[in-house]
């Protein structure tokens, strides 16, 4: 088994009101960043897992997202990165 560091992004699903994201987008507009069209605030989770391959590590984290890390009703997740650990 090797060790991998898996990063996963979890964000509110498009179309679901994200008041935090809206407040931040409004603040950015106030600061003059008028090109910001949308902001959504979610979570970034970093997991160190033991797995045989990088794909297996990613698959394991996908299962974790389905069962606990993300709410399937309101959130989308994306494996952002899988890196090997020595």
């Amino acid at each position: 088994m090797s060790r991998y560091r898996v990063s996963v992004h979890i964000v509110p699903r498009k179309g679901i009101l994200d008041p935090q994201g809206k407040a931040v987008a409004d603040a950015l507009h106030t600061l003059g960043f008028r090109d910001v069209e949308d902001a959504r605030i979610g979570r970034h989770v970093v997991l160190d897992v033991a797995a045989r391959t990088p794909d297996a590590a990613g698959d394991a984290v996908r299962q974790m997202c389905e069962r606990l890390l993300a709410n399937p009703v309101t959130e989308d997740y994306e494996i952002a990165r899988v890196e090997g650990l020595s």
Binding site: P12, L17, P19, Q20, L68, L69, N71, V73, T74
Partner: protein, 230 residues
Amino acid sequence: MKFGVVTFPGSNCDYDAFHAVADVLGEHAVYLWHKDHDLQGVDVVILPGGFSYGDYLRAGAIARFSPIMREVAAHARRGGPVLAVCNGFQIACEAGLLPGALLRNASLSFLGQFVRVRVENTDTMFTNRYAPGQILRIPIAHGEGRFTADEDTLNRLEGEGRVAFRYVNAAGGLDAESNPNGSQRAIAGIVSAEGNVMGLMPHPERAVESLVGSNDGLGIFQSMLARVSA
């Protein structure tokens, strides 16, 4: 009738729920510890309010995997009544006992205040002691109470009469100002498809004595008593 109030780490309305059942309703109540696997033969399970597991990750997301929740889910599958209040509602949604999710209030503020809700369906085991359209004054205390579901689910809930309570103004009408957390379709409480699980964000257990400002919540407990012991 025997009520079981589940205590999760971080529950803080379990004593209020126990008091409502034991001292005001005059029925038998026991606490159920989150690590236990024994419902002690209770007729009704109450998932109380609070901040189970510090609301880490998402409100209710971790509590739903507590050992006792396996028994609570089995009880619900057998048709046993479950009253899920506030954090309990969040836990019930996370556990799939009820559809939808409860997201951060649209205002981003934690809200602790009396609200008005309208009884939308009196033909449930939780609302049969109320009059149709009756307006109740019951407190809320939550930061994440914005009921959210997809359009199909919302339509199904309404079509099947599963919306139990809606936030309304003093006249009983719907408007944005009276919807404290921005819930879709002003939904404050729903029941499961089989009708034996109810989740609501307002706290009926905090409105069971006029001494504290309202006893409008007592009807929920009386309704269960009338239906379950019948």
